[in-house]
Symmetry: none
Subunit: 232 residues, 2 copies
DNA sequence: TCGGGGCGTCAAGAGGGCGTCATCCAGGGT
DNA sequence: ACCCTGGATGACGCCCTCTTGACGCCCCGA
């Protein structure tokens, strides 16, 4: 899916010079780079921008590194590469067992970090299973999962980030029922699992934009009490 | 799938003392350990025994380490952790880009290696998501457990949340008797274990929707005084 | 033969979930 | 500083589903 050169990297570090060095090197290699300078911002950034990989410094000002890892692992499997000045075996074990994917000690070689980053992205990029067609056509409208575009009667339909998040999850599970909890969890984050009202609002918006008869949906179906389902 | 304590590790190294140390430590932690002392044997061993993770020394007598990695990556995504005495950045990059998942330099801490191994196994254990098609066919109707769909004579039958809860539990225990108490406990909750009237109502509804002759059920059977049973 | 418990069936009321619309608020761009 | 988009939240009516009650049947033992 997301090729290396299109991958988004979240860099979490409170040392400006490290952030700067990483930003320069990563950008030069075609990665999209976003940054956070503490744990709270990191959790927020992951929930909002869904990066393809996280580079996480353990020495953050506001919370312990393993807490950040734990906060992420509760609801996402995004690869996490830990950066740390501490090379103790115990630190590595703790971080890895908390859910980190790799552990690099400072000072680190940029080449090595980049290689480990490629490895992490490659691994997680394999999973988008399904052998899925990147373009799904319902007859009423088409969804291009790779390009993140939706067309209806030839014209492109603009979707907001949240609308796309809902639609993508449903389309990737086409034919299958997706539980309300899962939608809320994956699109909004782990603390929104009970806000089913959001789903009603956004499904209504998607239907209005995509369905020929929004009040009689043929593709974005509700299974009362259970969840939603996308049918072609 | 394979839990940590049941995971199989292939150790590929030509130094007997390393193999011995790994075998002892891994076995002590409940891993099943198999070994290979050169690249050819390693490729053969992976094909034959399908290990959950490979620990690969780069300094093998018969072939280059990256060749081994390449030979594996052509057809399997099994996690590969490289062990190497050479800590050059270039070596790491080469191995990782060839398809390795991690790179540990000798001498290594056993704790760290074990933690990285756990991380690698954990990652790959997550992916076998929606493996098996879970479709049950009775001849009269079919149940798709993954999609939460029921079809009868080609047409989809709509079930409510509670109806589906009852049917799913029975189907997942197909052929076995499911006690009333268990059904009520699992579908309605622990405080409903005596409300057997619910079961009568819902079994009747399911039969009406699914059975060819609802009054003569062939699949959703009552065992008077005990519970219900689903038969194909 | 009679009575009771378990079961199946039907029906109706109540509550909750859903769709819809309107409003408020924050953030980003001009 | 302003506007404008998009997200969050509340109000409201409708429909479906769950729940509950009533009743008849069958099987069993008394």
């Amino acid at each position: 899916m997301s090729l290396d050169h299109a991958a988004t990297v979240l860099v979490v570090d409170d040392e400006p010079q490290i952030v700067r060095a990483l930003r320069i090197n990563l950008s030069a290699r075609g990665y999209k780079v976003i940054t956070a300078h503490d744990g709270t911002a990191a959790l927020k950034a992951v929930a909002e921008t869904k990066p393809d990989v996280v580079v996480l410094d353990l020495g953050l000002p506001d919370m312990d590194g393993t807490e950040v890892i734990g906060g992420l692992r509760g609801w996402t499997t995004v690869p996490i590469i830990v950066l740390s000045a501490r090379g103790d075996s115990a630190d590595k074990v703790e971080a890895l067992d908390a859910g980190a994917d790799d552990y690099v000690t400072k000072p680190f070689g940029m080449d090595e970090l980049l290689a480990r980053l490629r490895a992490a992205v490659r691994r997680s990029a394999v999973s988008p299973v399904d052998g899925a067609e990147a373009i799904v056509d319902t007859g009423s409208f088409t969804i291009d999962l790779a390009a993140k575009k939706v067309r209806r009667e030839g014209k492109e339909v603009h979707l907001t980030k949240t609308e796309w998040g809902v639609l993508e999850l449903l389309v990737r599970n086409r034919g299958r029922l997706v539980a309300q909890k899962q939608l809320l969890h994956d699109v909004w984050g782990p603390t929104y699992e009970t806000e089913s009202h959001y789903l009603r609002v956004y499904l209504a918006q998607l239907r209005r934009k995509l369905e020929p008869e929004p009040s009689r949906p043929r593709h974005l179906l509700t299974e009362p009490g259970m969840g939603y389902r996308f049918e072609i």
